[in-house]
Symmetry: C2
Subunit: 382 residues, 2 copies
């Protein structure tokens, strides 16, 4: 290394102080405040909370997705409420209680349709993204899980009770719904790889993960990891892992082992397990730090005050952090420079520099859980 | 397939007619109008031009990058001009002519620094992203090419005349500049993979491509494709391919063969050539359609009225389109539903649905070349 003895100005980092009150939406985000049914509006560049939206109902288990222009958030509440929030006016502009209990949703690739997966009654409802008018109501023989958007105005979802996996095509005048196969016993969540190639379904009622190749005209179920943890004994599952957090890096899937203090590494091409990493607790979210070899992992209660960082090349834990009490979620800046971590019982969002792994800022929040940056608008399968 | 006989509303697609004049920035973009030195402001959701910014100087070979909030564009002109454009007010808010001839630039992962690579005089200049004040001036022994952002407030670049590759770290009080190896004879462009893992340098003075593993603490040059096209004869190169368009899909690089009517497929893990696709002409941009197995290719003059689509699984051409005259660039919606194509000599932007591969709309533009959606703000290495 040689030092460049060159012109060097002191780099201040002032907040943007424009001469107007216009707001761009590319670096905004929302934090779910689970106890109060509110959303904290955050500005990523300013590392600040800039507002709060209330009246979202029961957000004790909630998620959201964004419109393509990064202006509107569609919030899926536990109470079956679907709310449309305007990030610029910080108001709820539409809301419908569309089921008794919902667990998530997705927006179509063209931004025109919002689909919600429901537990009670089971099934998928599809809404016009502009008005929240009901467009299609697709019943199911049980609880629907793992709803994802698929390119071509399509969605995929899975039924917990029956193991059935469906692909719905909403590009024509009428929806076309196809059952593409059975994943196995009690699928608990599913996820789509970022290239929309593979729909992975995690099983709770039996060992294993089932993959569907969605690039294929006739996708078929392919089961793998069917014998993980055959030696040793499973522990009670304190918190079901979230598969939306499954990391895809270095040609591998990094999967949380259900009921184990382990991360399982699977070669993406062969679907063979290539490594196991012993972890601090039962992994909940396993999230790849963008543009890096690292994945960050948080854990189920009661070991949920720790975050570990694992190198996807060596499969070794390279850092163990104790950011705060009840770490529920982590969200990376889209190019990976920072990670925002919610510490529910400290009522804080903690911001870490991913290179130094040091805390650089914190923001007060009321029992924060999920953190969602608007950059998600541009990603498939979220 | 069974048809769902369910509630189905007619899906209208009205433009958003809010009660305010607020604008979100997530679905905006800019088109370079090369003959007039202007930028056309486009709205992706509305498939419309919504304004024009003038006074950008010589844009006959220009590119741009966006701030993390998707509000500002940094435009790199051929005349060495660096301009900062506000997408919301549609004005030039800062401009500096910082060299005699520049060829591109990048913004740091934290959005604080903008770096420009120059031909005349050669070297890299780094500016404060807010004010465009000069922060560092790094001379080079020749023309700089292939400047990319690397996580951790770093940039990488290469020198055409000497083959030297540099990594600059601007995270501390003073920049640290390291020469990390020699790529070979006359590198003409370079590109970073989306995971920031591999910096690939294309060579013009000899056969081959040189890779640097930027996840390694001590990156070393590794040359591959050194014998492609040993049989057969090279043609004159009508237009140097753009490596920023190199596609990464299905564990492969899809590379334009310099001086050949061919696409070369290289296994990303082994760096072995796995296939060759015979093409309509000399490839210029080879761009992966997001969330799909397909890459789209345009061609050098005089065969530049054609676009071909290749399947990365079979390596076969699956579609040959003739969208218009002098096809200079293609930009995909970030989730892949549409591709916007510039037809310079038709003075049009053509919008194609990627699923049907049919044209769905067109927009008038004055000699359009590069098309840049704001979603680029969230991607590494652009």
């Amino acid at each position: 290394m040689k030092r460049a003895a060159l012109i060097l100005a002191v780099l201040a980092s002032p907040l943007w102080a424009g001469t107007d009150d216009l707001t761009a939406t590319g670096d905004l985000g929302l934090v779910i405040e689970r106890a109060t049914g509110s959303l904290l509006v955050i500005d990523r560049s300013d590392r600040a909370a800039i507002g709060r939206v209330e009246g979202l109902g029961d957000l004790s288990h909630a998620s959201l997705t964004y419109s393509p222009d990064e202006r509107f958030a569609y919030v899926f509440g536990r109470d079956g409420g679907l709310s449309k929030v305007d990030m610029l006016t910080q108001t709820v502009v539409a809301r419908t209680v569309q089921a008794g209990n919902s667990i998530g949703g997705a927006i179509s690739d063209d931004g025109k349709l919002v689909a919600v997966s429901n537990y009670d009654p089971g099934g998928v409802k599809v809404f016009d993204a502009e008005t929240l008018a009901l467009v299609a109501d697709i019943p199911a023989a049980g609880k629907t899980i793992g709803l994802v958007d698929v390119p071509g105005r399509r969605f995929a979802w899975t039924v917990w009770d029956t193991g059935e996996v469906f692909l719905g095509d909403f590009s024509g005048a009428e929806p076309l719904i196809a059952m593409i196969g059975n994943a196995g016993v009690n699928p608990f969540d599913a996820v789509l790889t970022d290239d929309a190639h593979t729909y992975l379904v995690g099983l709770f009622g039996e060992k294993g993960v089932t993959a569907f190749d969605l690039w294929d005209d006739a996708p078929k179920p392919e089961k793998f990891l069917t014998d993980y943890g055959r030696e040793g004994e499973d522990m009670p599952v304190y918190k079901m892992p979230h598969l939306q957090g499954w990391a895809f890096t270095e040609g591998q899937y990094a999967l949380p082992a259900v009921g184990r203090h382990q991360l399982l590494w699977v070669d993406r091409a062969t679907q063979e397990q290539v490594a196991t990493t012993e972890m601090h607790g039962q992994p909940v979210f396993v999230i790849a730090q963008p543009a890096s070899p690292f994945v960050w992992v948080n854990f189920a209660t009661p070991l949920n005050d720790v975050v570990q960082v694992v190198d996807s090349r060596s499969h070794e834990v390279v850092a163990t952090l104790t950011p705060g009490k009840a770490i529920l979620h982590m969200e990376f800046a889209p190019r990976g420079a920072e990670v925002w971590i919610s510490s529910r019982d400290d009522n804080k969002i903690l911001i870490y520099d991913t290179r130094t792994r040091e805390k650089v800022a914190e923001i007060a929040a009321d029992s924060p859980s999920g953190i969602f940056f608007t950059a998600r608008a541009h990603r498939t399968g979220l």
